[in-house]
């Protein structure tokens, strides 16, 4: 468990941001990850009072406040209507309902954990994060950035007709994924894949060769999956070897592309 010297329920984003510039300050999400460490936190910044616990729908986008829980995403009818089952699929394996009622999307995305399911899915869907200081940053960029002292306010998910299929391989149903893959088709007919739990952070692979441009067939899906597997790095940990992960990447990306074509998104 971590310790705190000072616990502040921030009354504005500006206050939270200012407090977070202190050397040993930490913004609290759902605390699921933080509590497993033994950090000596100077100022713990609680965003609970800022109304960031809402999923808001606009004409062109969704905004998921940083304090929205994974369970809210799982049960959101609006998100399901816009993007199909992929977002629900990306959170429903995470431990259990009680945990998902605690874990926040802000904490999950800010942590940029390698095993993160929603990070992988949202990256494929072309989401951005709204940072208090840096403004809107695409996830594909954000996942490559180092931790800094900015403040994640919301995840912004454009409504641009994109569709994704999210697939994982897990040892047990509620374990971290051995590998996670999402394939997304955009309104303009281009494709991309996000692959997470390699076990490094999710990475985005664009179909720059247009392998799927002529339509998704078993052969083109296989070609795109191989393309992704060959471009990404994989490594080994308790849950699987690099070699197995590369193999899974080929299988899951191919299957996701085919399921996308079959309209299972």
């Amino acid at each position: 468990m971590f310790t705190t010297q000072q616990y502040v329920v921030a009354s504005s984003l500006d206050e939270a941001y200012a407090l977070n510039q202190k050397p040993r300050a930490t913004v609290l999400g759902g605390c699921g990850w933080l509590k497993m460490g033994r950090r000596a936190i100077g100022t713990a910044i609680d965003l609970s009072a800022l109304g960031l616990d809402r999923i808001e729908e606009f004409d062109d986008r969704f905004e998921l406040g940083a304090m929205v829980t994974l369970r809210q995403i799982e049960t959101s009818e609006a998100l399901a209507a816009a993007f199909g089952p992929c977002l629900r699929e990306s959170v429903r394996h995470i431990v259990g309902v009680q945990f998902r009622n605690c874990a926040t999307i802000g904490g999950s995305i800010w942590g940029r954990f390698g095993f993160s399911d929603p990070l992988t899915c949202l990256t494929a869907l072309g989401a951005s994060v709204r940072l208090h200081h840096a403004g809107l940053v695409p996830l594909s960029e954000f996942i490559r950035m180092d931790y800094d002292r900015d403040l994640l306010v919301a995840v912004v998910l454009p409504k641009a007709g994109q569709r994704a299929v999210y697939l994982t391989h897990r040892a047990t149903q509620t374990d971290f994924p051995v590998l996670a893959a999402a394939v997304c088709r955009r309104a303009d007919g281009t494709y991309c894949a996000a692959v997470g739990a390699r076990p490094q952070r999710a990475a985005l692979v664009e179909d720059t060769e247009g392998l799927l441009a002529g339509g998704v067939t078993d052969a083109s899906a296989r070609a795109f999956a191989d393309f992704a597997a060959d471009r990404l790095t994989f490594s080994s940990n308790l849950r699987g070897s690099a070699e197995f992960r590369r193999h899974l990447c080929r299988v899951l990306v191919r299957r996701a592309a085919i399921q996308l074509e079959e309209g299972q998104a």
Partner: protein
């Protein structure tokens, strides 16, 4: 930090260590039904209801119950005993150490889902680990409980 909240129906105000896990805080308040089985949010033993939603009290900071209503099994004894009766009929409580957390989540599920399927029950309760029973007796008990409840509602 000073917080005001409701514990099992009674309004309270207390000076608390804000970052203390709610599990330990509640046990210190005499809610000994709340158990801890791990430090990694995996077991579900510590499940309590905050504003009606099941949460892991081990992962919830005490500060965050400010202004909220907290329910533990101590405040739900009648419902616990009713569900417990169904579990006991199957022998499904076994060592009983995971029973409070499980029953809390069964109550949450019953309140949240109408007429859940077997798959929905499994998924809703997946975060409640049990090492004694292998789960199947619990499922039998829960299905019977839900069926009897439905019948009583329709009657």
């Amino acid at each position: 930090m000073k917080i005001s909240y409701t514990l099992n129906g009674r309004a309270r105000t207390d000076e608390v260590d804000p970052a203390r896990p709610l599990t330990e805080y509640l046990r210190a308040q005499g809610c000994l039904s709340v158990k801890r089985g791990c430090e990694t949010s995996n077991c579900g033993l510590c499940t309590v209801l905050v504003d009606g939603r099941p949460v892991l009290s081990c992962t919830t900071l005490t500060a965050r119950i400010n202004g909220k209503s907290v329910l533990t099994l101590e405040g739900l004894e009648d419902r616990a005993a009713e569900i417990g009766g169904y579990l006991a009929a199957q022998g499904a409580e076994q060592c009983g150490f995971c029973s409070p957390g499980l029953i809390m989540n069964i109550i949450a599920m019953t309140d949240e889902l109408t007429d859940p399927t077997e798959d929905e029950i499994r998924e809703y309760l997946a975060g409640n680990l049990c090492r004694c029973t292998g789960y199947v007796s619990q499922l039998r008990a829960i299905r019977q409980y839900l069926a009897d409840r439905k019948e009583a509602e329709q009657a």
